[in-house]
């Protein structure tokens, strides 16, 4: 395996060739906020929180989808990036209906964590209070679209790991929403295997176990990575 070296915030790191900029930041011990990315799933670069500055390029690059190359110099926490990240988190909060006080994921929510991470204590942009629905037609789980941030982790885990492709995205722009099956009630989708992987990966309280009430949702976002390693590399947790 050949190795490349690059610098992250001035610190030199060595990572395997073909690795992403995200892996470079991890090697440097730098933490950048992530919402759509989840280890084990194909990166999509949608939440724009992991954008980094690359010296010599006038475009910001998403760390999750950009391949690292030899000699790159990247910066992850410039003033401008901090500013943009905070604004992006404000936009996330303003576009949905995120009411932590009675959310299943309160205290265990990645959106909440990211807000703390970027120092967002209020949104300067007015809340949109969109009209969204809750689909509780599935016997075990439910999806509350009010809390959805459209990270598409559920779409990807169901397609890539479970192979059922129950989820997809419907409509466009601010009307985008996650659809089950052919835009049916979740409980009527025969392709659903009731595996619950979408619940595991959902960063917020949008997809949850029906038995969980306020602040009771547990996170298992490491599962796709474990499953992927098990399949691709035949590495099991009990080995």
């Amino acid at each position: 395996m050949s190795v490349i070296t690059l610098s992250v915030n001035g610190k030199e790191v060595a990572i395997p060739e073909g690795a992403s900029l995200l892996e470079a930041t991890r090697a440097a011990g730098v933490e950048i906020p992530l919402l759509c990315h989840l280890d084990g799933l194909e990166p999509v670069g949608a939440c724009r929180l992991c954008l980094v500055e690359v010296e010599g390029s006038n475009r910001l690059m998403p760390a999750c989808t950009t391949a690292a190359s030899e000699g790159m110099a990247i910066h992850t926490h410039t003033h401008q990036l901090l500013d943009y990240r905070r604004m992006a988190v404000e936009l996330f909060f303003a576009e949905g209906n995120h009411v932590c006080a009675f959310c299943v994921a309160n205290g265990n929510c990645e959106l909440q964590n990211v807000a703390v991470q970027v120092g967002m204590d209020h949104s300067r942009f007015p809340y949109q209070y969109p009209q969204r629905v809750v689909d509780a037609s599935h016997p075990l789980f439910a999806i509350d679209h009010n809390r959805c941030i459209l990270c598409t982790r559920c779409v990807r885990v169901c397609d890539e790991i479970e192979g059922a492709h129950v989820w997809d995205v419907g409509s466009r722009g601010s009307h985008c929403h996650i659809v089950a099956g052919l835009d049916q009630p979740w409980g009527e989708v025969e392709a659903c295997t009731n595996c619950g992987k979408c619940v595991d990966v959902c960063p917020t309280g949008a997809i949850f176990h029906k038995e969980d009430t306020t602040a009771e949702k547990l996170r298992h976002s490491d599962r796709p990575a474990l499953l992927k390693a098990a399949r691709d590399e035949h590495v099991w947790r009990n080995q």
Partner: protein
């Protein structure tokens, strides 16, 4: 079909049948002309009536060009009731030169010396208005497909790419990426399947250049695409056309069918081993599918959403294979470049932007239509000399170029030459070529809001800056249009525009703030005046 193309009759009437003139009643006019000719007892050999594509001055449609021994005379807005008079005029070569007292065609006759016609140089549009778009025989008689044949028999793919590189041609879809370099990148990928794609998903408001090429000269596009496929080693191609262009889709499909029958597409083209299959794919109403990665997704039958680049389609495009994707105008320029040579093309234009560019001129302008001028022509000569300025003679306030991705250029900067870099410096962009002229009465915050609402509706929703940011921007602009903004809104507008521009995933989001940023730059006083306490908004 009135013309087989083999012998051009001494006198003919060319009737524009592109969308603009069709909506002005060109079909009725053509039928009336045919009836009037028959009634007058003339044969088609004496006086041919030929359906053609765009004759440029769309705002005066339906347009008819009369060719006779004395040259060509153009008529515009001819009512079908005057068909008889027009037939007589064409038959007798009497186009108002004599002092004919009862010259009822006087009002319809257009002056060929108008700067609108005289200052144009036809390269991409050379066949528009000349050939019958539904007849491959006519296209071949005009010279179409001769360059494809020449490439296949006489030139290697490297030599073809060399000419394109020499020409300095850059992508006409708006990005301005050097075409030859893109072709090389695709051609030099490791062996394996390759695709060529023509992006005909022209969606900018005020842009209708590509539609005119598709409707007027579809065979030229197919020839260009086949040459491109030969140059990069592709054997499959797609033309992705938006569904809102039904006539373009119809003519393109017809052209494909004719080309296949004529052996100019398919296996063993023109007796060589070169094979190419081209398919038409029709869009489903999403503006974002004009973005190349979203377009490729759509061709593959998936939801049209952009993905981060790199990898660029030239490395990994359709089904992961190297894919060449070029805009209609870029591809339509290729046959001429090969015919006349790359040097010839590069002699036109400026140092960085070679050749000609087609613009669709609309808005508050006297001559609405299609304009092809060399790069580097000033905006002023396009909108004031060729376009004739604002119809009521009042001054121009601004020119919007590049649609929702571009910006408004104020009147005092009209002497800027039109090329990629100059427009970019002004905070606008070439875009695909839509040019909307605005008069004194236009409110700039309203213009900005109009385009922002467009972006709100057309955002695919994948990334948050574009999905949620454009919504917030449109609401902020509402406050300015309704004159209830505050100084804090000004700061917010500025900050959010910069964030959306810098962090959006694809070109749509990255350029969505341009109409706001450019109007803030040149017409800041209008935003300030819209604040409840304008004095507070003024910068120190």
């Amino acid at each position: 079909m009135s013309s087989s193309g083999s012998t051009t009759p001494a006198r003919q009437l060319r009737c524009c049948g592109a969308s603009g003139c069709r909506s002005a009643g060109s079909e009725e006019l053509q039928a009336a002309l045919e009836a009037a000719r028959d009634a007058a007892g003339h044969t088609a050999q004496e006086l041919a009536i030929k359906p053609v594509g765009c004759l440029r001055l769309c705002g005066r449609g339906p347009l008819v060009a009369c060719d006779g021994p004395g040259g060509t005379t153009l008529y515009g807005a001819v009512p079908p009731t005057e068909a008889g008079a027009l037939i007589e005029a064409a038959r007798n070569d009497d186009h108002g030169s004599g002092d004919n007292g009862n010259d009822i065609l006087q009002a319809s006759r257009l002056d060929a010396q108008l700067p609108f016609f005289a200052l144009q140089s036809s390269v991409v549009l050379e066949g528009c208005g000349q050939v019958d778009p539904e007849s491959i025989d006519d296209a071949i008689a005009f010279g179409t497909y001769s360059q494809l044949r020449r490439c296949l028999h006489e030139l290697t793919p490297e030599e073809v790419r060399e000419q394109v590189k020499l020409s300095g041609l850059r992508g006409r879809g708006g990005g301005g990426y050097p075409t030859g370099l893109k072709w090389d990148t695709v051609a030099l990928q490791p062996p394996g399947p390759r695709y060529v794609v023509c992006n005909a998903d022209e969606g900018d408001p005020g842009a209708f250049m590509d539609r005119s090429v598709l409707e007027s000269d579809p065979h030229r596009l197919l020839e260009g695409l086949a040459i491109a496929a030969y140059a990069v080693g592709a054997d499959r191609g797609y033309v992705y056309v938006r569904a809102e262009y039904p006539l373009a889709v119809e003519r393109l499909r017809k052209a494909l069918q004719q080309a296949r029958r004529a052996g100019l597409l398919g296996n063993g083209i023109d007796g060589t081993s070169f094979a190419l299959t081209i398919e038409v794919r029709v869009g489903a109403g999403a503006y974002v599918c004009g973005e190349e990665t979203a377009l490729l997704q759509s061709i593959q039958g998936q939801r049209g959403m952009p993905r981060p680049r790199p990898p660029y389609p030239a490395q990994s495009g359709l089904w992961g294979a190297p894919t060449l994707i070029n805009n209609v105008e870029t591809i339509a320029a290729v046959p001429v470049i090969l015919r006349e040579g790359g040097d010839w093309y590069a002699a036109m234009g400026t140092a960085g932007s070679k050749g000609t560019k087609v613009f669709a001129l609309s808005g508050a302008v006297t001559n609405t239509g299609l304009v092809e001028v060399p790069m580097g022509t000033t905006l002023r000569s396009v909108v004031e000399v060729i376009g004739g300025g604002v119809p009521d003679g009042t001054p121009i306030k601004a020119v919007q170029t590049g649609g929702p991705s571009g910006g408004c250029i104020p009147a005092e900067l009209l002497d800027t030459p039109v090329d990629y870099e100059s427009l970019m410096e002004l905070g606008s962009m070439m875009g695909s070529g839509g040019m909307v002229v605005m008069g004194e009465t236009t409110s700039m915050p309203e213009v900005a809001r109009h385009f922002m609402r467009f972006s709100v509706n057309e955002s695919c929703g994948k990334c948050v800056p574009c999905r949620a940011g454009t919504v917030q921007l449109a609401q902020l602009l509402d406050r300015f249009v309704e004159r209830r903004a505050s100084p804090a809104d000004m700061a917010k507008l500025d900050a959010l525009c910069r964030m959306v521009k810098a962090t959006s995933l694809c070109g749509l989001g990255q350029s969505a703030p341009n109409p706001v940023l450019s109007t803030l730059r040149y017409f800041r006083h209008e935003y300030e005046a819209a604040c409840r306490q304008p004095a507070l908004c003024e910068q120190p």
